[in-house]
């Protein structure tokens, strides 16, 4: 069965959506990612959707769910590279994805994750 690969990069997981997501694929990704996070003990997830051209409310909700699942597992999620058309569609659908962090591209997304992670490490070392 077709699956979206989840790559491990240090303490981060990298998910690059290269095909048009259909419902089953999104559902599968959500499940796989949760399993992978627990398996690897990852601290951050980077979801790159720069190749995603079509979204509907279901896919929009899935993106939100993926981030929420990750948050429950104490993992920071950054959605990167959303296309203008996709952003407009989601807004028109009334889905502003609250609680999902976003970045313009993979580089900035990685930077954001690193900042977040270092912040938590920093706070662990220097509790207020």
């Amino acid at each position: 069965m077709e699956r979206i690969p989840i790559l491990r990069m240090g303490s981060y997981l990298l998910v690059t959506v290269q095909v048009d997501m259909h419902d089953q694929l999104a559902q599968q990704l959500q499940e796989d990612l949760a399993v992978k996070i627990v398996q690897t003990g990852a601290r951050g997830v980077l979801l790159d959707i720069s190749a995603l051209e079509l979204v509907d409310s279901f896919i929009g909700r899935m993106i939100g769910n993926i981030a929420a699942t990750a948050r429950v597992l104490d993992v920071a999620t950054v959605v990167v590279g959303m296309r203008p058309a996709v952003a407009i569609t989601l807004v028109e659908l009334g889905m502003s994805l609250p609680g999902v962090q976003t970045a313009l591209n993979v580089e900035l997304g990685m930077e954001l994750l690193r900042d977040r992670l270092e912040e938590t490490v920093f706070n662990d070392h220097f509790p207020e």
């Binding site: 952003a87 807004v91 502003s96 976003t102 313009l104 591209n105």
Partner: protein, 290 residues
């Protein structure tokens, strides 16, 4: 309508010169030379003759008239662009009545035939006139639509203030169509320039009601989804009061009174990332030393 066909066939040159005299006397030429006008009326008469020879009772919408119709549309289009008024355009065909009626009077046998012929000719010429006017209006409407589109595109410039900082000075009323264009151009520019902060300046927006606010919020949300922060600036005192009176919730959006204030904040934000990182590096190396 046999007499009209006869006039168009046998007395064409005579009719043409008579009609042309009327045309030149009655209407402004608006830069068109007499020769051009004469040429156009000659073509029209020829097409009309051909059409009537094909179908003696043809009205404007008859298939035989297709070339006449096309010709009138072309002429109306051209004149609309040259700045003719609607009455001048209408006069083009309606002025054909006098010379035609004069000749019908001479040829007709008795009052009955004359009135029948005149009625038929009137109907035909009126039809042609209305068709021309319709074409004229259509081409004006197209012109207006095109200008509207041009204005829409011209009125939404996205400028880059600094590396990673975009500004969008909005001028004029925000409606749905305009918001769509604004949103698209802003998001496109964010992708192109990889900007993290976008400032939407509404100094030039005369009024902000709930609808406009909703449009603004949509744009801000879309930008956030793509990973860029939006700051709304240029909120005049009256508009700030209106926003509060209307109960518009702007708590999720960063706002500033002036573009300068927003720019300062944007600079801070883009620098903050680097500065915070630097600060942290220092603290980390300090921690190691202890």
């Amino acid at each position: 309508m046999s007499l009209l066909v006869e006039i168009l066939t046998k007395q064409q040159a005579d009719l043409l010169s008579d009609w042309n005299r009327d045309l030149v006397n009655q209407t402004r030429t608006n830069g068109l030379s007499e020769k051009e006008i004469a040429n156009q009326s000659k073509m029209l008469l020829e097409y009309l003759r051909d059409a009537l020879q094909q179908d003696g009772n043809a009205m404007v919408d008859a298939p035989a008239m297709s070339r006449v119709r096309q010709f009138l549309v072309d002429v109306a289009d051209a004149r609309a662009r040259q700045g003719f008024t609607p009455s001048e355009i209408a006069a083009l065909t309606f002025s054909l009545k006098r010379p035609v009626f004069l000749r019908l009077e001479k040829l007709a046998n008795g009052a009955d035939q004359l009135s029948a012929e005149i009625w038929a000719a009137t109907e035909l010429i009126d039809g042609l006139g209305l068709h021309t006017l319709n074409a004229f209006l259509r081409s004006r409407e197209e012109l207006i639509k095109r200008q509207e589109q041009d204005m829409l595109e011209l009125s939404t410039p996205v400028v880059q203030l600094w590396k990673g900082i975009l500004a969008l000075p909005l001028i004029g009323t925000l409606d749905s169509a305009r918001t769509q264009v604004v949103m698209e151009t802003l998001l496109q520019k964010i992708v192109e320039t990889e900007s993290r902060v976008a400032i939407i300046d509404i100094t030039g927006v005369p009024t902000v009601d709930t609808l406009v606010a909703q449009h603004l919020l949509k744009t801000v949300t879309a930008a956030r989804l793509m990973g860029a922060d939006c700051i709304i600036s240029g909120i005049r005192p009256q508009i700030a009061q209106t926003i509060v009176h209307l109960g518009i919730e702007l708590t999720d959006v960063t706002t500033r009174a002036t573009l300068a204030g927003a720019f300062q904040l944007a600079l801070q934000r883009t620098k903050l990332n680097a500065a915070a990182l630097h600060e942290f590096e220092r603290a980390k190396s300090g921690a190691k030393e202890f």
